[in-house]
Symmetry: D4
Subunit: 217 residues, 8 copies
Amino acid sequence: MSDFVMDWEREGRTGVPEAVLCASKSVAQVEAILKEAAMAGRRLLFTRLEPAAFEALAPECRAMLDYDSLSRTAWCGSLPPAGAARDGIGIVAAGTSDLPVAREAARTLEFLGFSAPVVADVGVAGLWRLMRRLEEIRAWRVVIATAGMEGALFSVLAGLVDAPVIAVPTSVGYGVAAGGTAALHTALASCAPGVLAVNIDNGFGAAAAAAKILNKM
Amino acid sequence: MSDFVMDWEREGRTGVPEAVLCASKSVAQVEAILKEAAMAGRRLLFTRLEPAAFEALAPECRAMLDYDSLSRTAWCGSLPPAGAARDGIGIVAAGTSDLPVAREAARTLEFLGFSAPVVADVGVAGLWRLMRRLEEIRAWRVVIATAGMEGALFSVLAGLVDAPVIAVPTSVGYGVAAGGTAALHTALASCAPGVLAVNIDNGFGAAAAAAKILNKM
Amino acid sequence: MSDFVMDWEREGRTGVPEAVLCASKSVAQVEAILKEAAMAGRRLLFTRLEPAAFEALAPECRAMLDYDSLSRTAWCGSLPPAGAARDGIGIVAAGTSDLPVAREAARTLEFLGFSAPVVADVGVAGLWRLMRRLEEIRAWRVVIATAGMEGALFSVLAGLVDAPVIAVPTSVGYGVAAGGTAALHTALASCAPGVLAVNIDNGFGAAAAAAKILNKM
Amino acid sequence: MSDFVMDWEREGRTGVPEAVLCASKSVAQVEAILKEAAMAGRRLLFTRLEPAAFEALAPECRAMLDYDSLSRTAWCGSLPPAGAARDGIGIVAAGTSDLPVAREAARTLEFLGFSAPVVADVGVAGLWRLMRRLEEIRAWRVVIATAGMEGALFSVLAGLVDAPVIAVPTSVGYGVAAGGTAALHTALASCAPGVLAVNIDNGFGAAAAAAKILNKM
Amino acid sequence: MSDFVMDWEREGRTGVPEAVLCASKSVAQVEAILKEAAMAGRRLLFTRLEPAAFEALAPECRAMLDYDSLSRTAWCGSLPPAGAARDGIGIVAAGTSDLPVAREAARTLEFLGFSAPVVADVGVAGLWRLMRRLEEIRAWRVVIATAGMEGALFSVLAGLVDAPVIAVPTSVGYGVAAGGTAALHTALASCAPGVLAVNIDNGFGAAAAAAKILNKM
Amino acid sequence: MSDFVMDWEREGRTGVPEAVLCASKSVAQVEAILKEAAMAGRRLLFTRLEPAAFEALAPECRAMLDYDSLSRTAWCGSLPPAGAARDGIGIVAAGTSDLPVAREAARTLEFLGFSAPVVADVGVAGLWRLMRRLEEIRAWRVVIATAGMEGALFSVLAGLVDAPVIAVPTSVGYGVAAGGTAALHTALASCAPGVLAVNIDNGFGAAAAAAKILNKM
Amino acid sequence: MSDFVMDWEREGRTGVPEAVLCASKSVAQVEAILKEAAMAGRRLLFTRLEPAAFEALAPECRAMLDYDSLSRTAWCGSLPPAGAARDGIGIVAAGTSDLPVAREAARTLEFLGFSAPVVADVGVAGLWRLMRRLEEIRAWRVVIATAGMEGALFSVLAGLVDAPVIAVPTSVGYGVAAGGTAALHTALASCAPGVLAVNIDNGFGAAAAAAKILNKM
Amino acid sequence: MSDFVMDWEREGRTGVPEAVLCASKSVAQVEAILKEAAMAGRRLLFTRLEPAAFEALAPECRAMLDYDSLSRTAWCGSLPPAGAARDGIGIVAAGTSDLPVAREAARTLEFLGFSAPVVADVGVAGLWRLMRRLEEIRAWRVVIATAGMEGALFSVLAGLVDAPVIAVPTSVGYGVAAGGTAALHTALASCAPGVLAVNIDNGFGAAAAAAKILNKM
């Protein structure tokens, strides 16, 4: 069990607790970490836990987890009471294909004590869809935007709102857009200032950064 | 002089006459080609003729050319009479930095017998700039759009007009946008259908394709 | 149902209706979109619907669709009457491996009300194959060309016809051609002017652009 | 003068006024924009104005500008009174070679009405240099960090502070680090959550985003 | 059997015996090599022998091998007596996901007659985890470090110890870190001198180089 | 002077004598090598000797060299008598911009004792130019072809002749063709078998390989 | 059947008959081509026919083919009589993992009427393995060399023999060598002149080029 | 002057003192650092100090430095007495073009108290050059090897000696070898174990690592 060392102090030090990226971990490793959290009485967030990997966990482990298959996230331990959730952060998804990443951000925020609405299917090919939701979006203090393909939504949004836009490029697309690099480069090279990028498909990171911003206000 | 063979038949065969890309040719080569055109009584378009290269040409060669330093284009021979220029094509430039490429397209179209207005500085960071020109743009049958950095203009435009959009990504930008690949990938991966891409900074190619489209109508 | 917002106005605004890229959507999402289209009495095109995904749809959903497995396209709703289909667009495929992409373009055009012949297996390794079909191709007003590997067909074709050539690089190939980038770069860097590129394997986009061109004539 | 259209409303709409990226603009274009700002009674920020380009401006233009050669920034018009500058943002530079980018951020913040200290030469090869400044850094509400080469500072910093870290990768380095991509990828792939990236060398963008964050608090 | 030629003299010539990379070899080829080693009375190391490939070997082949599924390594023949193992080399793993590569290095060293401890889960997001093990690490004469994602551990470690650091970037990560290139570039561009890199996931190569270093002391 | 060791035996061993790539050598190094060749009574080929570097050589060194500025090649020592030059190799250049590389091949062949005609300006945008020279080209036993941009000439040529085609991609082009990678990939991914590639702009290497082929006949 | 057009004249025109790349063709397409060849009484080579695809063919199709699973090649029709096979070409494989590609070259040569020995497992990590076969290799008129990983064999070989070396980089390797680009770049950038490259894993292309060379002697 | 913070403790902590990379520093910054070192009575190494930058330093600064233009290195302060220099490290340079990088390593080692011979011009195109020096090279405990182009020397060398080989890929080359990535990938993917890589052109880093190795013996 000495192969992992949880950084339980991280929340106190950085405002965001450690989370477990399950993508390259074995089932046995995930189970061991989960049990250590349980023994320590800690709550813990798991990301990129594929449905097949969740199903492969021991029943008592699955029972400890609140799992969501669309976002592939899970947590053990209790959440802050619903009424206590803070607002100020919102999430925009360019298309329905971006919803898994948007939901990863929303679930992470829920775990961190924030309540974040998701506004979906507002890609710029039909600008009116974004415009009719603009008033709602403008009320947020931090905007998380998820988009794949060419990611033009990031620039359009940043030119319309006065909140910072955290861009999460997604790996949705094919050809030159495969893997998400085209959308990432759009986020980084945006002609509208105020766009901040995280790694491709990193809904968790966007949520963590947004929480850090609000925590310091 | 046997080192080049002008394809004078190209206009008859493809609708667009051969043009001379000067970027990797010596001054002596450009002069020889120009003289051959003169002797053959042909008119000819030169692209990427840098001001320093133009200045290095023999005076009698310079005298034969109508040169524009912003677009680095030149031609010898007469144009179609101004009144005869056809319309239907228009050019949009996202920013002032994209004007050299937009002008290369406009000059090429002028040489090919078309009159094409340029609408400049309509980048999506300030959408209102594009919106107030939209009615004008919607009247065109082919839209040529030039943009660098992340190139989000291509997607926004293609979602708003019913004409085909020929996207010319420009090498304007730095970091991940240096060289123009980010804008090119936006054009290719656009979420709005109907975007057609040419090579980075290739205003000439966009104009040639637009002319081919109108020629076949 | 609030996670997607169909842009039903797109056809009126841009001449081409919205289509659904199924590649990164779940079966449930595709079914929901299909049902919304049915309820709205709208016809709708689906692309990249893999045979396995089609088979996974509910029977009543499959029954609503006209599905073609080679091109992985489907549509619901009625087509324009066959006699009403417009012509002027043709499709060239360099090899038999490029036929799925060529067929995606052909099916899209059929959905959009155009009739487009496909001329196949005319790769430049045996130029005579292209030459014997040249008269037929020269009659088209817009040429869609699909080719993988090195994509030399794009340049040869553009030097022989006076119609614009919409190049669809395909992901057919291996080594440096894997993924289609080599063919894409050939389309963009073609020495023959008048080549316009869409994303790799994007037969749909080529068809949409071709339709926009003819719609504006 | 019709070739550019200043987006004067941008500050009201997004909280950050438009700035002029001079890198790909001619001297004449910069002069024209400066004069338009003067006539409109607007203050305006210029970035990437190389010393040689600044020297090439007409004397009356130079006289209107507050120019800094290290950061290659300039502005016309008055600043907010010094005493009114808001704090809460700080800047960290990994090495002395990163100072031009750090200064671009600091000057942008000054123009936007913020006062931001710069903590320099705290690269992780000698961790004690960062540790002895840590208390000071922890007091900031937003940290802007500039680093080239491998950019390891971003991860170390984000693991030590509870403020969001805006990472500005710089093009300082050679070999695999040339151009700044290695540092950019470190920012995006950081094992410490809460790192937000802007484009390589984009000190302006980092400052604009930081200002948007504080403006919304 | 003439298709492979074992380089049995390699250990005498270079200090490290030949090993067999199984990744692109068929089961039949692995079996044939194993039998040749047995007949020659040689001991031999196999790397990248996937569990499925190991299971596919003939039972008498499996019986000859000491196999470890986490590191996907196997060997035939006897090891040096345990008490004779030399020390001086240690291995650090940034996270639990890097353990397979760390174990490949440890098993290779065991095969080569070295005993190497593994210190795991000391990623820089929680620096205290590294610091509390620092005294132990500083006692080693060669440090092998494995890390994925952005690989910042390499730089931090090299700034804290006086032994050479052999960096093994791992393919752990996603987006810009997928495949391990981001971590590799960090190793190569480290601001702390004394970092030496091997190929991504190449725990075997790191161990071989470390053994060569100690063999020459 | 002990810093270089001429491989005078190379011609006997491999059929092609060593040549000196001057691009990254100092003037002093080139002079020293030239003097060593003179003292040894050896003839020697120099490539990539830029005009400025040639001018910087000491007068007695320049006097020893037969220099050609277009191809940037030089040699010292005598050539085989003109009448003795062997034929069977020919060179094709797609455009006039490819002539420097074609000439490097031709000069290298001359130095190696071969006489090679150059057929220029036969790019595939005007196929008739190639067709009218085809009979001449078909008589060669080895074809060296130089082309930049998209390099489609390689495929067309290889489909028309029965000799092997050695493709020399050139760095002529811009955008996606900048640096020559697009043409290189066309050579490697050609749909016509029998294309063999050398490095970008490597006219010398193509000539050396062609000479080796004929030497072995 | 109209979707493919066999280029039966290719052998007469170029010396090498058309072959069928099966990788991206459906079983039905392969069957149709095979039947057309049978009806035309033509012999035909198939490459990249995976064992699973071969097994999926109709029994009467399989019966027509001479199939080899290691090289994934097949042919229909008769070969030249064994005694008539020409020699002069030989194949070198750096490691056993490169044998499938080496065998694709050998089988192609057999189909084309050549007999080519394969010398395997002569990688440069143990130079003596190459040296002891050198006399044999030096007798060949064309050397085909296959190597993955870093491909250093190409340079060493070309410095030792006077025949042209056709380098076939293979996709054997991982990390920076994954996909074969590292070996390809070694072939292209070799310090020993006379190396000619084909695409990664393209044993067929190397054999076709070698045959063209010998056919012209 | 507070913009840089020398890490004077680094030698005690890591065995190698801090050095100053001058490439992206201004003349004023270099002068200030030099003066601080002088005031502190410290000796200090400067790398990548171009001749023009050295000439631009104030005369009193130049007088403090021992400068070498080939390697672009300089130091202030005294060296260890010549007789005290330790041996055990040697340097190999594939070609004369690699000598600047080899010399950077040699000068760094001299500064660190080691004496390292340089064996030059032993590229693998003429293996005999390496073989005749092999006995000398085999006596070293650490081999530093510099090579550009395809870098095959790294693999050949590592297969012949029992010391670790620190590979320094150089940016010597063109086409696919431009910038040094091809040689770097050869070092990383070498088929001979025991190759350790540093960044392209990083002679300093290779020397620092070699010194760390010997310091720990």
